[in-house]
């Protein structure tokens, strides 16, 4: 290949495709647009600060010191859950490496048989039976995999996410299998916090008005007005959202499935994942095992850079080939052994790679308000690889 290659160790998150942003050397993973998330943090912290500044001194002395203490605990709980929802991996499925993609393509072609020239090949769908129900698995043209049941491709983050619920701009991340319970508990605790602040703000105004009159109270504690306003509008949305997700959890459904009407009962399709028992469904969603991330953001990988060319720091598809050698080594943190194997397998890949057929993607499903539409866009990874090599 090129004359001199500099081998540089980089963390895997630097090479991950998709439109996520990473912070703290891969420990934090979020979507690209974070503006609304900052607004959420500002609203919560701002409103609570006003509460602690204006209401708490009065209520602590006139009612009970437990009131601000409980408010602090609730506030910390809300912030911890918000940050955990926003910063964690929602359950992103890594894209198929070239050999796996080729293997799947060969399976598809074998299943389709001979398609007469000029005719569109059949849509790439795999039928599986889950608990007696036929479920269709769709092929993702971007990730080059058949999506597992309940997974969906988020076009905002450009990733397939397992048990995809929706992309929430308020938390700046997708909500999926790994962070759904944190999201739900965040909305629940935020509802409680909002109700709490709203109630005690009103109580405070009433109590103070009895002593000093309504107008003077508002003059003494102007923050109260702002708090009441914010809480009033937040209440309707957050409490409503919590109620909606409670309903979904009791049925073991995702927002995505609900919006698409996957298990609405038409065509006698029933939810095969539901245990038909509210308690069991809740336990599975909220108290199930904590699934690990399969992304391995902080693992080390080789980054072979040719000397003269300027290195692009975007995810370079060529490096997908070097990544495939990593599994040959049980311990990924000693990739020194990988060097001879890299050349071997790279050559083997170049010889074996077959161009994937150009497929026109099927028409996208109707666009739901919250969930992202599935964009079965043909990824040009193979084309880019051919150009690069």
């Amino acid at each position: 290949m090129s004359a001199v290659m500099i081998a540089r160790k980089v963390r895997k998150w630097e090479k991950l495709p998709g439109k996520n942003t990473f912070c703290c050397d891969g420990r934090v993973m979020m979507a690209r647009q974070k503006g609304v998330f900052y607004l959420t943090v500002f609203l919560i912290v701002g409103t609570c600060s006003l509460f602690f500044a204006f209401e708490c001194p009065y209520l602590a002395t006139h009612l009970s010191p437990a009131i601000p203490v409980f408010a602090i605990v609730l506030f910390l709980f809300v912030m911890a859950l918000l940050l955990r929802t926003s910063f964690s991996d929602p359950g992103v499925l890594p894209r198929a490496l070239p050999e796996e993609a080729t293997f799947i393509e060969m399976e598809i072609e074998a299943a389709n048989g001979n398609v007469p020239a000029g005719q569109r090949p059949p849509p790439r769908i795999r039928n599986v039976q889950i608990n007696g129900q036929i479920v269709k698995l769709k092929y993702c043209y971007t990730c080059k995999i058949f999506r597992p049941p309940r997974a969906s491709h988020c076009s905002i983050c450009d990733n397939c996410v397992d048990r995809f619920d929706h992309h929430c701009p308020w938390v700046g991340n997708c909500v999926g299998k790994r962070n759904y319970r944190y999201f739900y508990l965040f909305t629940l605790s935020l509802s409680l916090l909002t109700i709490y602040i709203f109630t005690f703000a009103i109580v405070h105004v009433v109590m103070r008005s009895v002593d000093s009159g309504f107008v003077k109270t508002l003059q003494d504690t102007p923050g109260t007005v702002l708090e009441v306003l914010v809480c009033f509008f937040t209440l309707w949305s957050v409490v409503g959202l919590t109620g909606f997700h409670s309903y979904l959890i009791s049925l073991n459904q995702t927002t995505n499935e609900d919006i698409k009407g996957s298990w609405s009962g038409k065509n006698r399709l029933q939810n095969p994942y539901s245990h038909k028992n509210i308690v069991k469904n809740c336990c599975e969603v909220l108290c199930g095992p904590a699934y690990p991330s399969v992304l391995d953001r902080r693992g080390l990988t080789q980054d072979d850079l040719p000397v003269p060319a300027s290195t692009a720091t975007q995810s370079n598809p060529v490096l997908q080939t070097t990544k495939t050698t990593a599994p040959l080594i049980p311990n990924e943190h000693t990739p020194d052994d990988a060097k001879p194997s890299i050349a071997d397998s790279a050559i083997a890949h170049a010889e074996k790679r077959s161009p994937s057929p150009k497929e026109k993607p099927p028409t996208p499903a109707k666009v739901p308000p919250l969930a992202s539409p599935e964009t079965d866009v043909e990824a040009s990874i193979i084309i880019a690889k051919e150009k690069a090599l």
Binding site: P148, Y273, A290
Partner: protein
């Protein structure tokens, strides 16, 4: 054990990668992690069927253990919730413990059974738990290489 690991290294240095087989997930029982035990035709000449099926079944058992909804997982969930999930910053979850066990099991299987036959199993976690990737190597080295695994498994299947 040092000899067997040494042979795993030799496998990569002396053999060239011929093919890869991918075992897909089995979704018949839901979304819990389970792999199909169907024996791929490419492996027919390389490994005995019972050995292979044993490995996959054992992996399925481990994954079922990791994802089991039982008293322990509920307790872990409730305890974690009570601490606003901050406890996960210092504690290893049960799933992670089982994954480590699976990693050790796969390494052991590779050393004892698969490497002497010119095969290598990749831990599914490195493939997003979607597939079990089995690499098939062709031995192009001299006689002293892969077949030199002196112990147990008769590496006759070639």
């Amino acid at each position: 054990m040092a000899t067997e690991f040494h042979n795993l290294q030799e496998l990569r240095h002396s053999a060239s990668l011929a093919n890869k087989v991918f075992l897909q997930r089995d979704y018949s029982e839901g979304t819990t992690c389970r792999f199909q035990t169907k024996f791929p035709s490419e492996l027919e000449s390389r490994i005995e069927r019972p050995l292979f099926e044993d490995t996959v079944k054992r992996l399925n058992i481990y994954y079922a253990e990791a994802e089991k909804m039982g008293g322990q997982s509920y307790l872990e969930g409730c305890l974690a919730c009570a601490t606003a999930y901050l406890i996960f910053l210092c504690m290893e979850t049960r799933y992670e413990k089982v994954l480590k066990k699976i990693g050790r099991y796969i390494q052991e299987q590779n050393e004892k059974i698969y490497a002497p036959r010119g095969l290598l199993i990749t831990d599914p976690i490195e493939r997003g738990m979607r597939v079990i990737e089995i690499s098939i190597y062709e031995d192009r080295g001299s006689s002293g290489s892969c077949s030199g695994s002196s112990s147990t498994s008769g590496s006759s299947a070639r």
